[in-house]
């Protein structure tokens, strides 16, 4: 038995060496080997050590298809120094079924947001389960807007819209931030001296009230009727021109920053647990605009979600 393992280890070592040192054409051929149906877990795992990025990523992508026997290799893949090896593995972990959850959890702790996003993608592809929902719940609170968005989408398969509460067009206050001091001076605070803030309507561009290039802040005091807190609550923005940061009751809830391309794109920010029902809430939106008109130019609403059947 020992001799078998020794031979296997030797073979693997040679394989790793071969892959690592291969000439370009050999690398391409080696990668093609990894795509063969009968490729072994060992070969794939060994390929993770390739210094060639595409060979290692291909191995990471294919590994989950090998089932539970690939778990060790996948753990290794999730530790790979190449972010895309980790992401390639994470994105395909759903192929392991429930057994993937610990690996996904590991991936959700990755330093790189793309890897965490890939892990959420794997959750999206999985069947609903308590473990899955818990991981999605955690991902919704991720510091990365990219991961948040993916997690919000992931939650869709578990929830459905129960109610939508439109936010008023009027009653908002506005202030430009030419000196970019709003964050430092905490213009998002729940309680703020709003002297000097001007009324503004949403669902229209800020026109002359805001800068063609620069930052403007919106604040809204919103009374919410008392009710049983929903399973999930999301602020649904139909579009804000351009980049957006949202605070609820003084806490940063999320951001939507796609640069100029984001000016017409809808987005949702999860505010579950941040809203106070039966009380006055403070919603603050910071908008950064780079060209032409800006502001909250389309409707905003609070979407209340309930678990899907």
């Amino acid at each position: 038995m020992r001799s078998v393992w020794t031979r296997a280890a030797t073979t693997l070592a040679l394989l790793v060496l071969a892959i690592s040192c291969a000439a370009p054409r050999d690398l391409a051929a080696r990668r093609m080997e990894l795509l063969k149906r009968d490729v072994t877990v060992e070969t794939l795992a060994a390929a993770l050590d390739s210094r060639d990025a595409l060979v290692a990523r291909t191995a990471a992508r294919v590994l989950p298809s090998k089932g539970p026997s690939a778990i060790a290799g996948l753990q290794k893949a999730l530790r790979n120094r190449d972010m895309l090896v980790r992401r390639s593995a994470a994105m395909n972990l759903h192929e392991l079924g429930e057994a993937a959850l610990p690996l996904i959890e590991q991936a959700l702790r990755d330093d790189n947001e793309f890897v965490r996003q890939g892990a959420v993608f794997a959750l999206i592809a999985m069947k609903p389960s308590a473990g899955r929902e818990a991981l999605i719940e955690g991902a919704i609170g991720d510091e990365s807007a990219l991961v948040q968005r993916a997690a919000v989408m992931a939650s869709r398969s578990s929830y459905r819209v129960a109610e939508s509460i439109p936010l008023p067009k009027t009653g908002w206050l506005f202030r430009t931030d030419a000196g970019e001091v709003g964050r430092e001076q905490e213009w998002f605070a729940a309680h703020l001296d709003e002297t000097g803030w001007e009324p503004i309507e949403i669902e229209r561009f800020w026109e002359e009230q805001g800068p063609e290039s620069g930052t403007g802040w919106y604040r809204l005091a919103l009374d919410l009727a008392d009710r049983e807190p929903p399973a999930r609550a999301q602020l649904d923005f139909q579009a804000v021109d351009e980049s957006t940061w949202v605070w609820v009751n003084g806490e940063l809830a999320g951001e939507h920053d796609l640069g100029p391309d984001g000016w017409e794109k809808p987005f949702r920010i999860d505010v579950t647990g941040r809203l106070k029902w039966g009380e006055r809430n403070q919603i603050t939106v910071r908008v950064y605009n780079t060209a032409m008109a800006g502001g909250i130019w389309k409707p905003v609403s609070i979407v209340l979600l309930e678990p899907a059947e």
Partner: protein
Amino acid sequence: MRLLPTTLILLLMVCSLGLAQEEGTQVRLAEPFMTEYSGDDATGEHVIALWQFNQPDPTADASGKGHTATLAGGEFVEEGRFGGGALRSAAGYPVVDEQHRVNVASAPDLSPAGPFTVEMWIRPDDGLNSEYPTSILLDKKYVSDADYQLELSAETGPGMRRLSMHLGFGTESATWRSDAFPVTVGEWRHIAFTYDGNGTGAFFVDGSAAGSETKTGYGPTAAGGRALSIGDRGGSLYHGFPGLIDQVRLASEVLEFRPAGFALASDRTVFVRMEEVQPVRFTVTNQTREPLEGATVRVSLDGMPLVTQQLAAIRSGESAEVAVPIDTSLRPDDYTIAATVQIGGDAPFTSTERFDITIVPRQTPNRMPVVMWGGAAAGPSRDWLQRIGFTHLIGLGADFQAIWDAGGPTAAGTPEAIAANRENMDDLLRRNMRVVSSLSPGRWAAGQAEYRRINQEGEPYEDSVCGQFPRIQQFMNDVGASVAQTYGDHPAFDSALIHTEVRGSSHTCFHEEDRAAFREFAGYDIPEGVEDMRGTHYETIDTFPANRVIPDDYPLYVYYRWIWDEGDGWNEMHSQLHDGLHEGQGEDFWTFHDPAVRTAKVYGQGGDVDYLSQWTYSYPDPLRIGLATEEMLQMVKGADRPDQQVMKMTQIIWYRSQTAPEPGEEAVQQGAEFSDQDVRPQGTGTVDASGRYVAQWEREIPDARFITIAPMQMREAFWTKIARPIKGIMYHGIGSLLPDIVGGSYQYTHPQTKYELQNLCETVVQPLGPTLVQVPARQSDVALLESFASEMFARKGTWGWNGGWIGEMWLICNYAGLQAEVVFDETIQQNGLDGYRVLVMPDCDVLTESMVEAIQAFQARGGIVVGDENTCPAITPDILVETHSRPSEADVARALNVEKALALREQLDPHYDRYADSSNPDVVPYVRSYGTTDYLFAVNDRREYGLYVGHHKLVMEDGLPSDATLEIARDGYVYDLVDHREVNAGGDGATSIDWHFGPGEGLVFMVTERPITSVRLNAPEQAAPGESVTISAAVLGDNGQPVDAIVPLRVQIFDPSGEEAEFSGYYGAKDGAVEIDLNLASNDAPGMWQIRVQELASGKTANAYMRVGA
């Protein structure tokens, strides 16, 4: 001008028919100048003054207006033209420098404030000999800049003299001159000059036209205060007329003197050689006050009398028509048709009118159109466009209201508008240019309220017509047919622009017709959730699949594809207009639609038009023009008609807002530190008092909204687009290209740009165009997916603007040496990804199930997916290029893309071999192939900030030189098609070319399997005028056979005088060979002709000689 050989017989047919003048039109009858004026001709209101010098009071003004003459050195005699008396003048300086005249005191009405006519009879005596200089017949001007002075010249030839009328306009004078005419001692001549008060002056001698000219910029003459002198100059040196003067009349109208009016009734005077044309028609109008009987018409061509025919009697004021067939087999040249009407009887009279016609050569095949997307009237601007190399201008329109009202094809405009258009087309044809009709009846039809699109609430959109109504579709066809039947016979009209810039105002529409059409298409009603033409974002669809993979029959996807393909009716409207235009047109007629990819990426955009086109602004990165071009190339691959092709337009204008601060904005010069010394040598700008650099155009036109493209950006954009298999190129923004275009917001801010374009046309488009339009694309193994699903459900896409993340990714591919072919959802759905090795997926957030399956299968067989963080979760990219928004500083933005390109390249290189490659990311290669021959293009994108707009850091407008080694994975012989020489290239199994590129420079190498060794040229040794002969040329390889390539050739056919004959020009010799059927003209010059052929790959030539005639 050539005289016809005497053997030439020009077929000519004269037919006459009585034509009553159209009701309401008034024929100006000729003055009865052959008789002594009386009655209204003498005293009418229009007569300012009339001196008949009759006894007993020869000083009297017979008009009764009181302008009595005073004798001043002249002499009244009893003999006169009509027997009652005349004024005798005499020779002045240098014979006798004394006055010989009568004077008439100055009066306001002797200075007409508008049109006027001056006429008189003159009979010279012996004093008017060949030594005598000019005679002044009438003078109220003298040396001032007011009024008029009529002069008879010294002899211009034996017995020939000219009239000159000098008119004063206040601050300057101008002169109109007549044709030369015989002036014979002892013979009376009637001379007259008319001025229309608006620059047009005309002379008449004995009732025949004797020359006319229109000078632009002149109005009525200025009134002076000098006395009117008849028979001599108003002061010394005196220039009397040696002879008699009689019946001097001044009138305040433009009068007619021709008893018979000859007018061109045809609306064409320019013809293409060998064109089958209708006879040229003239009208002969009886302008006398009596019936015209026994008149004879003689017609000649270039002085050669051809036919004489007697006309039937014509009543006063009526016309007869004469038709003259034109022999277009004559050699290309300008010809003059002279038509003479001769009247016998008691008052014999002959009048001749001359009309110029032109026969232009036929075009050589495969000329690449260079379209000025705009118009320019005949004049300096059009001259410039012709010089630059433009082949087409936008011109003809149509009267949509009239066609709508007619309910079917009808005249496309008023008679006046049609006549003006046809005159314009003649001018273009003479220049070997063509006109593009720009027609947007769909936009016009939005004015018909009952056919406007409506939203889901039934509210109409004011700017958009609904194409689901048969009436609307029929109207499109009617417009096309109307324009075709109105102008289709004119060869200058060979193309039409269909519905430019209309799709942006399209909307989803909810008439019952729309709902029924979708129901019939899909089998179910329009689904819930439809928003506008830009789709419905998935984040607003609660039931949208979280993995962003939708079934291919997802109802909203089906709907949006339908609305973009056929549902909004635009593509069918394009097709209908195209069909109508093609009715009755020749095969060479073509249509195009633009901007064709400012749409969702669904096959079928543009309908059945012949060409798709798209306009692109070159800033900030000229390479981006390649993206829109590739989008169109993919669009035509999926077109309903298999032969649809692509053209490409570059904007000459640059938006100020994208290149420099807007007027009034703080001018940002980040990091720019200039001194006066830096900028003065380049002469482009100055440094203001605050040390800020100001470009010349900013100083001179501070509020300019649109400026001129920088020449080096134009050059790079040119090479980027022409590298691709496009069939024509276009430019828009004449106001920014040429000086002195009045009006509009396009400013002329870079004089060098026009020279740049001219150079590109002369060195690339003209010599290589006939080759390049024939060289097809090479199937690329790199695909760049522009996902329609992502456009509709994630608000992604370029929408024809080459921007956003897809635009950045396109640049990254370029810098990584990837020749990426754009593909659409339908490409993958219909054909999978066979043949591709790399799939680039920028902003592909949403995919359909079949696409996911195809992409996964592609990956499973080794295909490499390059994605980004937005890539649909169902796809695991092998390489991820993180998205970014383009930084505003152009150098930073470019550097970021180059950096990402190098990273992409490093990951790809071990797994992907390019067919063509460049050692330098600044130099971007592109390959096309024909047979065993490749056409390797490369363009140098290395740039820096210049002093035109670069100081604002938004655009790097100046190119820099680059060195690169180009490599193509094959053996072969390399030819530089621009410089026409063979290039040393190394390599074994691959071909490497080291090259030093100039700023913004592009090139094209032809790489052949065999070396070019010679040119074979065959032509007959002997040919007769009028005979058709065949000239054949072949570019041979070392096996003695024509090379397997399309080779650019220059063919020159010289006649014995050294002039280039028809079919001289540039050719693209397909399969290495070309045949030219040369139709020698009956009036071609006899003698030894030379035919010279040069292949423009290595420069080899061949000559042949052919004797024409005996």
